[in-house]
Subunit: 206 residues, 2 copies
DNA sequence: TACTGTGAAGAACTTCACAGCA
DNA sequence: TGCTGTGAAGTTCTTCACAGTA
């Protein structure tokens, strides 16, 4: 398939959220115009994004809400559940373990790791915190689909390398550092300080 | 000044981080090539990004680490401190209040608000949790530069509207919903479920 | 008729390539 | 000589505009 841009994928995810809301409101059908307004984009963008994957609408009518939701879930790979591990039992790790939206979307946090003996063994939201030294052997016997890094920057790269060695193919990184990784591993970064800095830039130049 | 793209601003922020590391290592001078390697971009991109703001380098030599850091801090508006409020004293709010990088960058969290009586009055990392009903009068007497929304999606828009009314010009939104807002208000979104969904897409299509 | 699907045009962003300067 | 600064070329992303159809 033609390479799809990351912005398109992100918008698809937004569209799915909108469609689920339309479904809750009992709407059966929706136009690209309505989706664009609620999703802060343009109707042409909505149609173009969808057109990369097929023709899901009916001319003159719009899109069937349920059908398009199903197709988007399929495209995004959300028709299954994912096993997720959180590495780092600090404040951010803690917030993630309890983050509702993850479970609702099929992302199940199956383990949490930390190097702090004081935390190891405690139960967090039903998930036991394990010693990070067990990480490698654990993941080899019970693989996960996605690892979330919620650890300090100075240990992030070595942990990334470990995960790559184990064969993890998707990582969500909260450490404020760009990680080196092979092409076949997908990494998404969340850098909160960087978000504040773009706000700072906007405030200064407005 | 010519409109600068958001991707450029984000990279400037990354460059600044790199420069601070180079400074710690005692490096006096750095080339666009070195920055590109460490920042996972290209030398031409580095030079082009910087060129929008002036000529900071010396041909044949590179950039002075300290001087360029100073210029970037200035460009990004980081030569001052910012007053920040966190709205929502849940797990995410809690993580943010203790997030070191914010303070290091000059973003000072001066207050936390919640609507849960049980939380109001408690002290968090030296910041007292206040009743959200005080938010409006508090911010009118003691304005903040940035508000961080760490609240459930169904109350996010009304809170956004309140903030706009009070005159807040920059918002970092953690609620998984696109907020409507006037153009003069800058909003950055952090949507963690959406990040996992882009990983899901990548896993499915690899 | 009302809306989709899509080539083609346009805009934005990135990379190239080289003149110019320390 | 070595690396910057920058127009120009190339690429990617967005918007336009309209033919096509339920």
């Amino acid at each position: 398939m033609r390479k799809i841009s990351e912005s398109t994928v992100r918008r698809l995810s937004v569209y799915l959220g909108l469609l689920e809301e339309f479904a809750r409101l009992g709407k059966a059908t929706v136009s690209s115009d309505e989706m664009a307004q609620r999703g802060h984009t343009t109707p042409a963008q909505v149609r173009k994004d969808l057109s990369f994957f097929g023709s899901f609408g009916k001319r003159g009518l719009g899109y069937d809400v349920v059908e398009l939701s199903d197709r988007l879930r399929d495209i995004l790979g959300l028709g299954r559940t994912y096993r997720v591990t959180v590495i780092g039992a600090g404040k951010i790790g803690s917030a993630l373990v309890q983050y509702r939206e993850f479970g609702e979307r099929g992302f199940h946090i199956v383990s949490v790791y930390d190097n702090d003996e004081a935390k190891v063994g405690r139960s967090w939201n039903g998930v036991e915190v394990r010693d990070v030294r067990q990480l490698e052997s654990d993941l080899r016997t019970e693989p996960v689909d996605i690892a979330i890094l919620a650890i300090p920057p100075h240990v992030a790269q070595q942990t990334m390398d470990l995960l790559v060695g184990i064969g993890v193919k998707a990582v969500l990184n909260f450490a404020p550092i760009r990680l080196s990784h092979p092409d076949e591993v997908t990494v998404q970064n969340v850098n909160m300080a960087l978000e504040l800095e773009t706000l700072s830039y906007a405030l200064r130049n407005s």
